[in-house]
Symmetry: C2
Subunit: 238 residues, 2 copies
Amino acid sequence: MVNWFWQRRKRADAPKLRTRSADLGSVKVDLKDLTPGLLHVLGQSAYLQLTLFENLSRAIAHAPTTDAKEQLASAAALSLAKHQGLAALIRRHGNEPAAVMEPFTAGIDDFQRRTLGSDWNETLMTCYLTGGFLDDFYTRLAEGLPRDYADRVIEVLDGDDGGDRLVALLSAAIAANPRLASRLAMWGRRLVGDTMLVARSGLAASADHVKDEERIEPVFTELIAAHTRRMDGLGLTA
Amino acid sequence: MVNWFWQRRKRADAPKLRTRSADLGSVKVDLKDLTPGLLHVLGQSAYLQLTLFENLSRAIAHAPTTDAKEQLASAAALSLAKHQGLAALIRRHGNEPAAVMEPFTAGIDDFQRRTLGSDWNETLMTCYLTGGFLDDFYTRLAEGLPRDYADRVIEVLDGDDGGDRLVALLSAAIAANPRLASRLAMWGRRLVGDTMLVARSGLAASADHVKDEERIEPVFTELIAAHTRRMDGLGLTA
């Protein structure tokens, strides 16, 4: 029994040189007004990255081949570097990463449990899909941070996330066992709900809930479209 | 139930600026004649480092506090960097890391299972003690490699291994629960046998077994002395 989840990835269907921020640049609406305080964003995203790394690490321990282990180790190193980049920004602000992450651990640990997956392939799907979704989300959210922090957070999240390696491993697994496709497609659809919930917990609410929803909705529509492209890239119906 | 193990560390009782090779420099005997082929050393030590990283990663997932998680993440990043450094040397030689590691996976996976530990503290002990022992061992073994590779392998293994963080976590656990000391001391003693066996599997045997033993014995005496110093540093009887 495996038990873990996500990780950031590269968009499978996008030209290699497009960055995440470029991909999202065409959307008019943004989340700036709903960006919470700096330490909220840094603490929550740092702990999410650490959780992504944990999930990948567990996938390494259960990898079916030495080659898969080696591929996942590269992805895990990239994910750990993102966590460390965010932790460094917390220290730069004069705070201790553990203390700043603490308020977000219960919710994210719960998200981790709900998105465990029942085997290694489902876990890889979780790493790829929720990692991608949440990196996109935090990149967008970071735009509302003070300028110097915004740039640095986006730089950290925009880095190579090893997602191409996850896509390669998943594609090979599906090719070797075509019946896997329908199960993974269902798992991919199920992940969206939990991922949207954890993303929403990263938003500051204003007094005007209706207006908040008007801002949030188009952004999530965009994020779900990116999720669909990831599923398409694996030959799965979202 | 946790299940995993080791990791490299800094010598608890050594001045910070002494490196591992300096520590071992006073020993007259060496393993040069018993150093196997380059790819044997690189493949086996790269897979051992990957296994050390796996063990630390699982310790992260079961860490009792967010601060412990953060400390272990730093140690895991350092251990993964060592694996990647060795994998890079394999690629530099024109080979694929997974293929070169493959012959050693069964034996090391077995070692990993035997040294799992029954809880988080035992696992940290395994990370600290077996990592330290094996880094010392491979540093010594690398001296028998072709000069340019020898220097690079030693450079990789001599890097900071995050062991000071493991010592801090273990010391705090023992201070909080003094009864832990005798159990961890027993576990530390038990680890030596399995660790020596996996180290021996990294040696090339000559036709003269008696002479081999004469070479191996003093080196292992030195390695065990370093193990005893690590135990002492934790206030435990080796």
